[in-house]
């Protein structure tokens, strides 16, 4: 045992070298990290108290702006609340106050909203946001655009146009949103020039914003041919949502677009924007398309199919894909008054057993 102790001690002395120093450094780093974390928690707890106080000041101001019957907000009250503007000069308070005002504005309309805008301007918060438009950091720039849009500072709309094709996707998304909020359908003019793609998320957002406005017959035809395929896809969604029947032929032309996403969107669009010839357009291109596009075409035919499509749809019941067979059967059942009868007749005569498909369709139709 003594030998072991001596051995351990001598070994420990010998290896008190670089490795041990490295070990010590790791332990010091560990202690530093721990101290930082504890310090952060302590500071955060302190800040929380201060922030709660600031938040109550911000809420007092917002409350005054929203619930006061007067058209003009009492400046003296604001100055007194903000301790003679001392608080307004505090960067952190300003950030908190802006956040509270913007958040309140999102849920308020009418006179109360106008009063909030007045308060926002009175506190010169718009000036800080405008200054942030020149920030090198994308999230500050995007935040500034977002803020100015919510607070309806429309004086800058022309200035914001330059950001609609910004290299940063969040900056351009906010700028595009701003233009649509301020100018409605006319705000979509950025689609003429943008080279960067519009993400699906942004398309959903823009379409959602447009639903709040009265429909407008803006010229969307040039966008179908845009070199930016996301613009073409978005234009097709617009045509679909607003039932732009006069664009039918231009949409049908998109069925031959080199980009598969545009072709798919065109197929979906024809479900809402159709003529008597729509299914002919689809059938003539059917064989050249991928299964995904073929399924989309058949689903359109579930709505638009007529008795003259019965032969085409019946042929598809022999297709190798079960999924396509099921969709074709559904389209067949819906193709005019004799559709279901044709499906049942095929089921009886055909060598392949499609009984399950027929029962599936019957169940769907009975719901």
């Amino acid at each position: 045992m003594l030998a072991l102790k001596t051995h351990l001690f001598s070994g420990f002395i010998i290896y008190w070298d670089l490795q041990t120093m490295a070990l010590l450094a790791i332990v010091i780093l560990m202690v530093c990290l721990l101290s930082f974390m504890l310090l952060y928690l302590l500071i955060k707890a302190g800040h929380e108290k201060k922030h709660a106080h600031w938040r109550s000041i911000a809420n007092t101001l917002i409350h005054k702006a929203v619930f006061d019957d007067e058209d003009k907000i009492d400046e003296r009250f604001i100055r007194e609340t903000l301790n003679d503007d001392k608080l307004a000069k505090n960067r952190y308070f300003r950030k908190l106050l802006t956040g509270e005002i913007v958040s309140a504005k999102k849920n308020i309309t009418g006179t109360a909203a106008e009063n909030l805008i007045q308060l926002y301007r009175m506190l010169n918060l718009d000036k800080y946001a405008i200054k942030n438009l020149n920030s090198m950091r994308w999230y500050i720039k995007a935040q500034a655009i977002h803020e100015l849009t919510i607070m309806q500072i429309s004086d800058l709309v022309e200035h914001l146009h330059q950001f609609t094709n910004d290299a940063n996707e969040y900056v351009r998304m906010e700028a595009q949103t701003a233009l649509v909020r301020f100018n409605g359908f006319d705000g979509l003019s950025f689609l003429d020039t943008i080279t960067h793609p519009i993400s699906d998320w942004q398309q959903i957002k823009l379409l959602q914003l447009l639903t709040l406005l009265p429909p407008s017959l803006i010229d969307i035809a040039p966008w179908f041919q845009s070199e930016n395929t996301s613009v073409a896809v978005f234009a097709l969604k617009l045509a679909r949502n607003y039932h732009r029947f006069e664009q039918h032929d231009a949409i049908a032309k998109c069925l031959d677009h080199p980009d598969s996403q545009v072709r798919l969107e065109a197929i979906l669009c024809l479900n809402e924007v159709y003529t008597d010839e729509t299914t002919d357009h689809l059938i003539s291109r059917f064989l050249n398309e991928s299964l995904k596009h073929q399924l989309a075409m058949i689903r359109v035919m579930q709505t638009l199919g007529t008795e003259r499509d019965i032969l085409f749809l019946t042929d598809l019941l022999n297709h190798e894909s079960d999924l396509l067979k099921l969709d074709a059967a559904r389209a067949l059942a819906n193709a005019g008054n004799n559709g279901m009868a044709s499906l049942e007749e095929y089921s009886k005569q055909s060598e392949q057993d499609i009984t399950e498909i027929v029962l599936h369709i019957k169940r769907e139709m009975s719901v």
Binding site: L4, I14, Q19, T20, P197, I204
Partner: protein, 475 residues
């Protein structure tokens, strides 16, 4: 130099080099996770998820939840899934040949009838016995599938065949999802136009000791028991650091089977989940990535750090050991199936970085650690203690603790789910104890996993859970 000395030096320096590379990876993971989390939080400031919740333009999503002997809690779990905020959502529960009353309970609670339903076999599966729909239009989004028992992967494949949505979310039916979980998980699929997002994962958190009411999480608590508490730290480290960092590099190989969303078209093209592995979640992601790489199509695997899914972590060593044994076997099976990618430049980051990392630091690490510990113990008792090796070992342990503390710091700075300061201190204490109490057990379970695989044992192993309402469930 005698062969013994040579062996001693080779062992020492081998471990040193290995540890240095591992340390470098730790540093990189820390740095990349900071960058990715920061970018995510900045982006999220402008995101209005309410817009997606009510939009008809939102992509269609299906929740696929396999259920096996979930009778005691199934009604509440399904109700919780049906209440999620998302417009274009349907819920498909796959009863995987349960031996209890899971199906009967569902039929009674949701007024179900056996519907005529043509199941397309896009992916080959075990036989479907019946599809059930509700008479009640309130539950029109619900589909129950009754099938022969075939395991989780087979059940998910049936769900994929039945779903008609663009994307599907696979979850463990007993997980608790946040109300906006699907909204947040859908976003990665929509926000990029240059790459196709083939899958997206979310953070899974430990729900033990949390307050659950009516299938919803109402209060987050740090687990009271030691084992779930230590797993809380482990989950924070894995999800907030590792997965965020790999997402930054677009090299993520694993999306948790408990909660992840997938592009249905790509999954079908890849042949669905493989039923011959116990690591079907990782295997699918690797296969999907490989599929995209081989077609040279730009793609991404997304990951979001918000705590969206809460699960019950094993609270006994027996169950935990089985789970880790299975995870090890799953990792090895996946790596073996895709060995073609190992340091293969044709697979880019996937072949040159992700796969080798998993090989050296997920598969080999426990083996090396086990052998290293055994070596040091042998040296110790033969009076030939290699102090270099001991110092390296202590260093590695300290770095491990440092890494855990960094993970806790990231949690505090970002989502801060554990509000009380004493909970954070408890987590720090756990981080210090983990290398001595928990980690050796995990290493040992991984070694047993290797042995099980060599013996060709490929069962899932029983996973008994307490249940959030103290009900017993088994799989």
């Amino acid at each position: 130099m005698s062969w013994q000395t040579f062996l001693l030096h080779a062992f020492t320096y081998g471990i040193l080099v290995y540890s240095m590379i591992l340390l470098t990876f730790y540093l990189l993971i820390g740095a990349f996770s900071i960058l990715e989390t920061r970018a995510y939080l900045h982006k999220n400031r402008f995101t209005d998820y309410r817009m997606l919740a009510s939009s008809n333009e939102a992509p269609t999503m299906s929740i696929l939840a396999p259920a096996y002997n979930e009778g005691p809690t199934i009604i509440e779990n399904v109700r919780s899934l049906l209440s999620l905020h998302y417009n274009n959502l349907d819920v498909i529960i796959i009863n995987d040949g349960s031996k209890d009353d899971t199906l009967e309970k569902l039929i009674n609670a949701y007024d179900l009838y056996k519907a005529d339903f043509f199941v397309t076999q896009q992916i080959k599966t075990k036989a479907v016995k019946g599809i059930y729909r509700s008479h009640n239009p309130v539950y029109r989004k619900l589909t129950i599938v009754d099938k022969e028992n075939g395991g989780k992967a087979d059940a998910l494949n049936v769900g994929i065949n039945i779903a008609r949505s663009d994307y599907f979310v696979c979850i463990d039916v007993d997980c608790i999802l946040e109300q906006d979980a699907i909204l947040k998980l859908a976003k990665p699929f929509l926000e990029t136009s240059t790459h196709r997002v083939i899958a997206a994962g979310g953070v899974v958190r430990v729900a033990n000791s949390c307050e659950i009411e009516g299938g919803r999480l109402v209060k987050v608590n740090l687990p009271k028991k030691f084992l779930p508490r230590i797993q809380t730290l482990e989950y924070i480290r894995a999800f907030l650091l590792s997965r965020m960092a790999w997402t930054r590099l677009n090299g993520l190989l694993l999306i948790s089977g408990a909660f992840g969303a997938f592009d249905r078209e790509i999954v079908i093209n890849c042949g669905g989940y493989h039923t011959d592995t116990v690591g079907e979640d990782m295997e699918l992601v690797v296969r999907m990535r490989r599929y995209m790489e081989e077609r040279e199509e730009p793609y991404k695997v997304g990951f979001i750090p918000d705590p969206l899914c809460w699960t019950e972590a094993p609270s006994s060593y027996r169950i935990l050991g089985r789970q880790r044994n299975r995870w090890t076997r799953g990792t090895i099976e996946t790596l073996r199936s895709h060995k073609k990618m190992f340091f293969n430049p044709n697979y880019g980051i996937l072949g040159m970085l992700s796969y080798p990392y998993w090989f050296f630091f997920e598969f080999l690490a426990p083996i090396i650690e086990f052998l290293g510990t055994v070596g040091i113990v042998i040296y110790f008792f033969t009076y030939a203690v290699n102090w270099s090796a001991v110092v390296i070992m202590i260093g590695v342990i300290c770095i491990g603790i440092l890494y855990s503390i960094f993970a806790i710091l990231m949690e505090v700075l970002t989502y801060n789910q554990y509000k009380q300061r004493k909970d954070i201190l408890r987590l720090v204490l756990v981080a210090i104890l983990e290398p001595f109490i928990f980690h050796p057990f995990v290493v040992w379970s991984a070694v047993l996993g290797n042995i099980s695989l060599l013996r060709k044992q490929n069962s899932w192993g029983e996973m008994t859970r307490q249940g959030f309402t103290a009900d017993k469930k088994a799989r």
